[in-house]
């Protein structure tokens, strides 16, 4: 598929999966006001906050662990931790950075546990779907939801497959930078590392992605 044409078709489908109220213009009450209310025990304010941010948190986790059911559970865990930690949240910090920091911790705890549990066993998450022959009897098949239609496009599949081959740190750096649009300092805060490490991870992750995608097809 032609790259520019693919981009155009993607833009037409862009609203799919967008979180309601995620746009700044749609926010009736700013996050900081909701957070203040939450600190006073207002659970309704917290639910508004959850509805506003759950799409981004879920997308981030889903892109990190590639498992919908676990992503759902982990998103719940993230927001429960947010509720518990809200009294300690300082107003001068950026809520989204703090939220993604918690998400980062939850995801890495999960990855660590999963690694311990499946130590020595075949881990499905380590399989590269691209390595499975299309006609293979054991090739997994599933009907995708409509909001996954984009991922079914040729390039979308390739990008996701390439992202899946990156290690967790590189994948997270790419997702935070390219998908969530965080700046370098914010990424460093979320991932609890230095600015130099962020730069290095970003450089090598991008380079690896470029190599993977150009290896498959000479378009990039």
């Amino acid at each position: 598929m032609n790259f520019s044409r693919w981009i155009t078709s993607k833009q037409l489908m862009a609203p799919a999966g967008a979180s309601p109220g995620a746009e700044a213009g749609e926010q009736e009450v700013p996050d900081r006001k909701l957070i203040e209310s939450c600190k006073n025990g207002d659970t309704q304010a917290f639910e508004v906050l959850v509805t506003r941010h759950r799409g981004k948190v879920y997308a981030m986790i889903q892109n990190m662990i590639k498992n919908e059911a676990d992503a759902w559970d982990l998103s719940q865990e993230v927001f429960l931790k947010v509720w518990k930690a809200l009294p300690k949240f300082e107003a001068r910090a950026k809520f989204s950075t703090w939220l993604y920091r918690i998400t980062h911790n939850v995801v890495y705890d999960w990855l660590r546990k999963r690694k311990i549990e499946s130590d020595g066993e075949l881990e499905d998450g380590l399989l590269n779907p691209a390595d499975i022959a299309a006609g293979a009897r054991t090739a997994p098949s599933a009907v995708d939801r409509p909001d996954k239609a984009l991922e079914n496009s040729e390039l979308g599949d390739r990008i996701n497959a390439a992202l899946a081959t990156l290690n967790a740190e590189h994948r997270e750096t790419i997702l935070l930078r390219e998908v969530q649009g965080f700046d370098y300092k914010e990424i460093a805060k979320v991932m609890d590392c230095s600015l130099g490490t962020v730069m290095s991870r970003l450089y090598y992750a991008r380079k690896k992605l470029q190599t993977l995608l150009s290896d498959e097809k000479g378009e990039m």
Partner: protein, 204 residues
């Protein structure tokens, strides 16, 4: 130029965040390695593709259920914290009473230790009901006899549970009495007939 600085320049070039000074530094690098420009351009294309190709927000399946489940957990969290917080506040309000209360506890512990060290009749597990536990006496069973020459002592432990009933005033058992082959001797003749028959059958 250091490797870390080069990486920073490449990353910033892809993101179009280079300062004029950094642009000049990168231009020098590109002059030294002409293929670098092409490589960075391809990386920039990939970065744009990822930006466009991966959704930044995906609603979790069953969004309403997601919220209701979460809020139920939050409610449980609030419920579990509330008594603990109250207890914590109450506990903290007593912090100035800690020192005298601690001293008092030490003194009491000392005297308790002294008492435990002494031998005590109750330590044997038997209570002298006649002197120290009138309330417990009321709960103990009564023993009735047909003869007024018989007497019973009910021995109880500290909980009031009967451990033994000692009957005094009974005739001594004869030395030649063999219970396994008991016969209807003269001593058993006073018992009810049916009872005697039953016993006799059982022993046969």
């Amino acid at each position: 130029m250091k490797k870390e600085k080069c990486e920073e320049l490449y990353v910033k070039w892809v993101d179009e965040l280079l300062s004029p000074e950094e642009e000049a530094q990168l231009a020098t690098l590109v002059e030294e390695t002409p293929e670098l420009e092409g490589e960075l351009s391809r990386i920039r294309e990939v970065a744009e593709a990822v930006r466009e190709g991966v959704a930044d927000s995906v609603e979790p399946p069953y969004g309403d259920f997601f919220n209701s489940q979460l809020m139920r957990k939050v409610d449980l969290e609030i419920a579990s914290k509330t008594p603990a917080k109250r207890a914590e506040r109450w506990w903290q309000s007593l912090r100035w009473a800690w020192a005298p209360a601690g001293a008092l506890a030490l003194v009491l512990a000392f005297f308790a230790g002294q008492r435990i060290g002494k031998p005590d009749a109750s330590a044997a597990g038997v209570v002298d009901l006649g002197k120290s536990a009138p309330a417990a006496i009321a709960e103990l069973p009564s023993v009735y006899f047909t003869s007024d020459r018989l007497n019973a002592d009910v021995i109880s432990d500290a909980d009031g549970k009967v451990a033994a009933i000692v009957v005094s005033g009974l005739d001594d058992l004869k030395d030649d009495l063999d219970l396994s082959t008991a016969s209807l001797g003269s001593d058993l003749k006073g018992l009810p007939v049916s009872y005697l028959r039953s016993k006799a059958r059982k022993f046969q």
